[in-house]
Subunit: 192 residues, 4 copies
DNA sequence: AACTAAACGAGACGGTACGTCCAGTCTTTAA
DNA sequence: TTAAAGACTGGACGTACCGTCTCGTTTAGTT
């Protein structure tokens, strides 16, 4: 079980520089200007160093996104599970409406022309987000806080569906009003 | 009265050949192989002929999509408005799950790196689809068929949000069961 | 012998506009920018109007050159034939060193990739220039002004060869000193 | 000491393939078909590989020409300097009348629309040819073989002027008779 | 301390597509 | 009936980026 590899170890510094470059390019120049060439240039790194570590540019951006604390929204330990849900959704909205938005849009766009990445994105990102949401919803059930009319998977489809839809199409904002509306929809209080 | 243009008129034949080539490439080779170069090659047309008519490749694909009858789903004249909604959603699912899926995925992906196209796509496609849905929902209200708890714009966000989400992420199918589930959700029958 | 042609007559105005445009482009932008497209644009004329009248762009430039009085150097009626030669060469140098230079360079360049034009240029321009020169040289012989050591065709090769060579390569100027040097060379005075 | 270049070294094989392709295209298809696109295609090389090494297509053709031994005519070590001159000119004629002719015509044509190349061509080709000729002429002077009436630079203008003129205009051949005539002209034997 | 192995940056490679320009032709309306 | 003019097909332009490769150099761990 010794994974002691011989030879020069990979540079953590290069790793970080690449992720930083990807994040900055995305924020400053947009998705169209975020190419491997540009990332290598800005990070001061050779292209092979990038290809050695990530299978596609989208995987870089995904890692850059996951590194940010903001998106990695923990289940809030609020008094009521319903309140936890509201906080979770508000945080998600804020993240998607802010700096994470460009990353998310880039990722879903690339997933449409790269089936292999699409799977990794599904397993490594959206599935986890769904699990987090469903675990909160489960708590509302346990406590009998809602009339759980909608099953958890459908609820996840609705919540994330609306979020992605607004993010990608841009016809309406991702704000706290939406968070609250969705909270009420998938976890309507008894007697609500 | 300035509709008398001099010079050789634009060839309808070239127009159709380009749209056909775009559609076929998308279906046969996928989005990554659908380039302006490849479209021109397959359509037997010069690249300038394409650039003269469309501002981007996504606009070609959008027009190719709109030309297909399948996606242009009319408001069905069913007995009840609720039934009309169900039929509308079933047809939408079938379209998105079938040949139109590749077009839709291509369009939303390109909208993420081309803000100008994103607007055209929003105005020329998603806005119209929303209007169609909302006009059906309005009919269910008029007839008092549903409890109409959800306002029409939110309903459109939910319905299309879930559809796009499943189409783009691919974690679950776009089938008639989903159509029925969404029908019940946004137009739940009185006493349902 | 009625050359009364039916149909719309060709526009003289267009003809002149085309020649003017060719001349101006050549002088202002240089040979690389002198294209049929650019001439049509500047002359406010359609391309077929040009193709209908000239077989190649070089033929346009040739006509534009011939229209200029400067290059069409008549045999000067000077006192001595030797003096006539000197004047002829000086005028030729001045023309080639001035506005005509760009035309001449353009023409000889295009003759290298268009054999058909090369013949027209040879017959319609260089052959006539040689004849003019040779007729002057013949007069010097008649009058016994020179030791006509060099035969007239070789003399024409030398005179025009040196002129073209300096014009095309640009290693030395086309000035009156050269005119005089060449005069002495091909028509060296008796006892010179 | 900066000759230690990093990165993958340039491929000599590609270099040769490009020069060969340029030469062959010129000989087989003529100057009009000799494009960078065609050279890249025939050499089995990407276009950027070409643009990385040469600033223009004329520079490629110039290098292809210089690589041929035929044109690189050494000063012949003949018994008399006058005989050396005759041999030099005969070889030059044969080269220009043969395979090198197409190269030379292509180069001088391109020099007329590319000032930057015109300088490189002047410095890298015509200037060297002039020097070679002048060094031979100098030897005839040293040995007192000729009356040396014409100064060396004028002699070079005459010799190369006539050669280029005949090559470019095509009104008369480049043959050994011309070589001999020019030999006599610029190095007429004492008592000739 | 010398050796080995893998990573490093740099940059060239063949290749594809980009968006533009021009060549030369075709098709319509205008004179 | 021809001229005029704009759109046509086609192809080359020069550039950007792709993903791979080949260098000389650097940095560990292993002998």
């Amino acid at each position: 079980m010794t994974d002691t590899r011989v030879g020069r170890p990979r540079s953590e510094q290069a790793h970080d520089a690449i992720l930083d470059a990807a994040r900055d390019l995305l924020n400053e120049k947009g998705g169209a200007a975020t190419t491997i060439e540009a990332i290598a240039r800005r990070a001061g790194v050779g292209k092979p160093t990038i290809y050695r570590r990530w299978p596609s540019i989208a995987d870089i951006v995904l890692e850059a996104l996951l590194r940010q604390a903001e998106i990695d929204i923990p289940v809030p330990a609020e008094s009521s599970a319903r309140e936890a849900l509201r906080v979770f959704l508000r945080r998600s909205m804020n993240a998607a409406a802010g700096a994470d938005g460009a990353h998310l849009r880039f990722l879903l766009a690339h997933a449409q022309s790269d089936d292999s990445f699409r799977e990794r994105f599904r397993d490594g990102f959206t599935a986890k987000r769904r699990e987090t949401l469903k675990s909160i919803l489960a708590r509302t059930d346990e406590r009998g806080e809602t009339r759980s009319r909608i099953d958890p998977d459908t609820a996840a489809d609705i919540v994330f569906g609306v979020m992605w839809y607004r993010l990608l199409v841009g016809h309406a904002p991702l704000d706290e009003a939406l968070a609250d509306e969705l909270t009420d929809l998938v976890a309507d209080p008894i007697g609500g």
